[in-house]
Symmetry: C2
Subunit: 159 residues, 2 copies
Amino acid sequence: MKTLAAQVITPEDLLKHWQGHRNLTRRLIELFPEKDFFEFSIGGMRPFSQLVDELLAIAGPGLKGIVSREVQPYTESPEKLIFKAQYLQKWDEATAQINELWEKLSIEDFNETFNLFGQYEFPVIQNILYFIDNEVHHRGQAYVYLRALGIEPPFFWER
Amino acid sequence: MKTLAAQVITPEDLLKHWQGHRNLTRRLIELFPEKDFFEFSIGGMRPFSQLVDELLAIAGPGLKGIVSREVQPYTESPEKLIFKAQYLQKWDEATAQINELWEKLSIEDFNETFNLFGQYEFPVIQNILYFIDNEVHHRGQAYVYLRALGIEPPFFWER
């Protein structure tokens, strides 16, 4: 019990936290009009679909690399998705994949160093916090896109 | 040593993570043109100065509430700041205040429930993760504002 109490956050709670964020991002994908998801942008930034390409290339593949200790370079899927429904399907596949991979992480793994995508040599916990932060960051952009399109986004604290 | 190894993240690393984010947000404040910091907005959203009002009302006061276990309502400072330099000063004061308050948190505190601002009754770790996420979220908006203003923001991973 002492060991558990000494944790700042348990792996279970961190997974719940991450998946809560991913659930909110999924709702934003749903909210975008089909065309705007692929085309709308501000200030030369990527449209939301391309930001989601990045998020999909990080979450599942990144965690897979961590669990298997196989260093693979960062690559976005060569499969070109052209409908929001395809993105939502990939998103749900990643959700299941993350849950499955998470089971294979031991508590010791979080403090071990891993060279994510052959580029980011940090403790696993830092890599995972980066996955979450990067998603929150890009989703923050998507909130502005939605507002600029006159669409009310969900509350940030709804997960 | 076993106890330490069992932590997903140590309080020291979580503070470093948070202050790293706060440092990046500070750089964004610096990058905004004075006028745009107070006036520029997209889609009816708040200008960055007002988002920073919120961040300042959360970080220091929220952590102070957690440490002292005193439930105070959420209030933005009644003092009206009209220059970016004043915001930067408040930001730096909050940075020092956070470091000081953090020293008073024991590892057990993170799992205890606190009714933040009398509204959010969650474990302290969830409250602190919310502080960070909310800042990353709003800073993501500020990135879009900067891009829309034709200003190149810093890399997200520079802390």
